[in-house]
Every structure is written in structure tokens, then in C-alpha cells.
């Protein structure tokens, strides 16, 4: 059982269709993505990429909200797509908990926030009595740096965004998961509050042995908090490896582009004057429909082969990094 304590995403593809008048277009929102997280060694794994790169779709697949068209996802040795009984599903949901983007939308504005916490505890049948439930909630709130007295009897409108996001995380923790799937948990928050939430993930990893899949478009917080990083481009995972190694010196041209676009809060490192105009096209290019590498339309180092064939994964010679780019193909 011990060696099975893993989350394994194996060659997963999800196809979405888009109907335009009478025609129907298919595109792969997630394309043959594989990743593995060992829950025995807790880590923060970040998925980064632009909007529309399939990060959220991948998260929904892992949460079993949608089902993959190809490939399988194993959690602790069980195929999550083949779970039939309610009991199995509940056990899975208990172990894999989501944290959503917008804390203001996660709560019912007309209900006291504690109702939300009680509901989760009772839905998962963790505690029978109110006293027991309260103890569990108190413990969960303690983990995020709040106390039950601060939360009791208040409506969501009485909290700041940062506090609400903490309560939302406490709700996830109340059921005792082994992994959190946090989809853009800080993008609605202010810069000053972001760091406190991100620090919380770090603390949960170190103190509660909790793994976190952190989905974000913000490379700076991803660099700060994560152990490993996966860079997504139009459904493809193009670079996976240690966070510091990847972001200190990105290999894939797309990661290089992302890193270059990050503005730094330092007046000595202004980036705007370097900017030379490239061609901008009027409509969103159908990058999903592209043959070969999806970045070939924007890549400064594009070769002929990139437009024709999809690159495979190549291991970098010096680092523990996998790159999906022909530049690193061993010759």
C-alpha cells in the first residue's frame, strides 16, 4: 500500500468541441499530460501557463469533476475514473480537496460562514455531534491562523478577501485531505495578502505533510513557494522539473518568454523600453489547432520540424528537467 501512495496522471487527454454554425471543431484542452506526485514526500507542485493553457481543465480532471477521453488517473493505486460506488467517491473527495479562485464566490453571502464549515463536516460524516464538529473546525481554522471565535456568527461580507480565502482553505482541511488542488487561489487577492496565503501552503506542507497542487499564472509566487513546476502551453506540459532550476534558467522558449514577460518590482530592472514590436494579429490565433509544436507561431527559435511534428519529451543533460522541445533532442 505504501508505494502506492501517489497521484499519477498518465497520458491524459481531454477533448473539447466547439460548435460554429453547422461545423464542429475539436481541440485538445489537455494533450497527453503525464505527471506524478508522491504524497509520502509532501511537495508544492505548481502548474503555470497563460490563460487558456488547460491548467484548470487538468485540475478538474484530477478532481474527477470531468472525465478524461484518453489515459488514466490513479490516486493511491486506484483508477479514479472507474470509481462507481458512492462510498469510494466520498473517500476520494475526502482525500483530494479543492480550493477555488474567488473566495467571495465560494461563500453564500446570505449565510454565516460557519454554516459552510459545518456543512462540509456533516456531509462527509466526520462528526456526529455538534461539539465534535466544532472541535474539528477549530483545529482546521487553527491551521490557517484563525480561531473559531473570530469566525463565529459572521457573514462573508465581514471578512477581507484574504481571510475568506483562509476560511475556504480551512474548510478543505477540515475533512483531512492528503492533497489540496488550489486553482488560482491568490489571483483575486492583493499582493500583500498573496504572500500570506502562499506562506500558508508552505507551512501546511511542512507541518501537516500536505501536498499542494498550486495552479497559477503568477511566476513570482510559483518560484517562491514550489518545489517542482510544470509549464503548460495550450494543453501540453512543455517543461517539468525543479522550480528553481526551471525558472532560474528556463530551457523551453515558451518558459523563457513567460519569464521575460514578468515585470519586476525593481526600478533598476525596467522592462518596457526593451520592448520591440512584433506583429500582432487581429484575431486569436488558433494555437490549439496547430500541427506540431503549439508555440511554433510565436517561437523565436522555430525550426521547420517544429511546424510539422510534435516534439517528444527530452531530458536535459545537466538538470532534472524534462522539456518538450526539439532544441533539446539528443542528436
Amino acid at each position: 500500500m505504501k508505494q502506492n501512495n501517489k497521484l499519477i496522471v498518465n497520458d491524459v487527454t481531454k477533448i473539447f468541441s466547439q460548435r460554429i454554425f453547422l461545423s464542429r471543431k475539436y481541440f485538445k484542452a489537455v494533450n497527453k499530460v503525464s505527471l506524478e506526485m508522491n504524497l509520502d514526500i509532501p511537495e508544492v507542485f505548481s502548474l503555470v501557463g497563460e490563460s487558456g493553457s488547460g491548467k484548470t481543465t487538468l485540475a478538474n480532471l484530477i478532481l474527477n469533476i470531468i472525465e478524461p477521453d484518453e489515459g488514466d488517473i490513479f490516486f493511491k493505486g486506484r483508477d479514479i475514473t472507474k470509481m462507481k460506488s458512492k462510498k469510494d467517491k466520498m473517500a476520494f473527495m475526502k482525500d483530494v480537496q479543492p480550493v477555488f479562485q474567488d473566495p467571495f464566490e465560494s461563500f453564500d453571502p446570505m449565510k454565516k460562514v460557519e454554516v459552510f464549515l459545518y456543512e462540509t463536516v456533516s456531509n462527509f460524516e466526520i462528526a456526529r455531534k455538534r461539539g465534535q464538529a466544532e472541535a474539528i473546525i477549530e483545529k482546521a481554522l487553527g491551521m490557517v491562523g484563525l480561531s473559531f471565535n473570530e469566525v463565529k456568527g459572521k457573514y462573508p461580507g465581514e471578512f477581507s478577501g484574504g481571510q475568506l480565502q483562509r476560511i475556504a482553505i480551512a474548510r478543505s482541511l477540515a475533512v483531512g485531505p492528503s492533497i489540496l488542488i488550489a486553482d488560482e487561489p491568490v489571483s483575486m487577492l492583493d499582493a500583500s495578502l498573496r504572500i500570506s496565503i502562499v506562506n500558508l501552503f508552505k507551512a501546511l506542507k511542512e507541518q501537516q505533510n500536505l501536498s499542494v497542487l498550486y495552479i497559477t499564472h503568477d511566476l513570482a509566487t510559483a518560484y517562491y513557494v514550489s518545489d517542482r513546476i510544470g509549464v503548460m502551453l495550450r494543453g501540453n506540459l512543455v517543461e517539468v522539473g525543479k522550480a528553481k532550476e526551471i525558472l532560474d534558467e528556463p530551457l523551453h522558449p515558451y518558459t523563457q518568454f513567460l519569464k521575460q514577460s514578468v515585470l519586476e518590482p525593481d526600478p533598476d530592472k525596467k522592462k518596457l523600453d526593451i520592448l520591440q514590436k512584433q506583429e500582432i494579429s487581429a484575431t486569436e490565433v488558433g494555437e490549439y489547432q496547430k500541427e506540431g509544436c503549439k508555440f511554433s507561431g510565436r517561437c523565436p527559435k522555430v525550426m521547420d520540424i517544429c511546424r510539422e511534428k510534435e516534439p517528444g519529451y527530452y531530458e536535459s543533460p545537466e538538470k532534472e528537467v524534462m522539456v518538450k522541445c526539439f532544441l533539446y533532442e539528443p542528436s
Partner: protein
Amino acid sequence: MSLVEISNLSAHYLQRGKKVRAVDEINLQIESDEILGIAGESGCGKSTLLKTIYGYVEPPLYVEKGEVGYNFSNFSVNNIFSLSSLSSIKWKKISYITQGSMNALNPVQKVHRFFLDLWKAHGQNLSLKGFEELLRNRLSYLGLPEEVLERYPHQLSGGMKQRIVIAASSLFNPEVILADEPTSALDVGVQLEVLGLFMKIQKESKNTIIIVSHDMSVLVNLCSRVAVMYAGNIVEVADTRALFKNPLHPYTKLLIESLPKIGGGKELKGIPGAPPNLAFPPSGCKFHPRCPFSSALCIEENPILAEVCENHQVACHLSLRNEEVEAEQ
């Protein structure tokens, strides 16, 4: 004389009989040919300040006191709130890019119609032909393909829509452009290009751009001067370099220190506590409950914005006291 002169401005929201002091006693001079950034956490009143600068005051927002004056190149307005109608200066002298304005384009009309409506409403002196010429010149100068005019908004990416709105706002060469979080909804790569667009506009027409953002790194890269707001007050104004290299207000310091950087390995801490409820602001300096250096004086008295060194204004008892100590020695 400065281009925009804000004196003693207080603008409040009336909410169930309570006043929410979103803009409280603000004094600020904005010169021509500068890019001013307004930074602060959400709910600190930065968007409200921008709205009142534009003269767009509608209930429940009202101006309690104070004036916003403009000294345009050929005429001046003593107080924008005493004007009977803003339509004579809108778009031509001041334009305002609201938050989420990229969704302002009509979804069932081509982009060209949007520009034609603009011409009908505001471009009285221009013939249609002249306007078309201006429009096309403008688009090609800003590097936007002309074909966008024949597109519907849903065919365009978010970045392109934002570029169109920015192009429209600068079409009649206004002297002041106000922009509220213009890049918050965009991807990092696109964000860089949209900010570059602002720089290009400013370089060409030498107008003043006031930009509101909660993202400090946007402000560092774009602005020549930055004002930091906290709970309805401006707590620090300085040239960008001075503000980031030598922040004087504890809030600014904490705000800058809390920003993660790629390549930085330091352990970071957020600012403790939460921003105050503006309906019941704390006494004295509004930052004192969260400030690591607060003293008895901070709880009693609200510090006023004072110049501590050249072009660097701070509202903090701490820096004033340090100065007095230095003067005594």
C-alpha cells in the same frame, strides 16, 4: 501651475446612513507630461479617487468637500464639480479607461461602429473623412492591424480589445488619460505589450497618464511618479525610483517587501492584519493598528502629508519625528 490640482478632496459613499470615507482629505498636484501611478490594496479608495478626478460622481458617491481643478493648455477649469456638463471636455481633454473596459465594446456591432459613435458624439469639428483618416493613422501608429475595425468583439482576444479601448481613449489627444487597472485581466505577455502602448502614446503626445493598479511591478515599470494610498489617504508620493529604493512610510516598506521575485530566496512576510472598514476608520493614523512602529501619537493624531526631501512627501509621524531629531542635532 500644475495640470491637475486636487485640493482637500473628500468623497464619501452613503451606505445605510453611514459615510464610507473612500477618499479623505486628499491633496495632490499632477504635472503635465508625467505618468503617475496610484498604488494600494483593494478597497483603499484608489478607483474612487480616479472617478472623482474625472468628475464622475453619482450617488451613492458624493463629494463632501474639496476641489479638482484643471489647467489645460488653452483654458482652465477651477472645479470640475461645478461644471454643468462634462461633455465638452470628455474624450477631448480627459479620457477615462474604466476597470474592465475591454468589455465595453458592443458585442453585436463591429468595432468600426464603436468608433463611428465616438465621432458622432464627440468629434464635432471633424468631417467623417477626416475622422476615418485620423482613426487609421492612429491604429497604424499604435501597431494595430486595420482589419480589427471589421471584426466583432468576440472575434478578438482580450488584449486586442484592451488595445482598441486604449487607442480610442487617446484618439482626440486628450491631455489627461485616466486608466483603472488596465492590465489586471491580461496575461503576462500581453500585459507587457499593453503597457508599451501607453508608453508609446505618452511619448508621442506628451500627455499625462494617471494609472491605478494594485500591482506594484506594473507601476515601477511604467510610471515616473507613484502615490501610495491607504484607507482613503495618500500616505506617500515620490518619484518611482526614490519610492522603491527609499520608502519612508512603514506601509510602503511592507508593501514592497512583500513582493516575491524570481531568483529571490528570501523568506517573505505579508502585512499583518487587514485593511480597515472605511465606514469606521481607526483614530489617528489609519495604519496604526497594523504598523510595527506605532506610538501613542499615531493613535491620537492623523499625520499630514509633508515634504521630507525633494519631491518626496510622506504622511507619517515617524519620518517627521526623525527629521526633528536630526534638526536638533
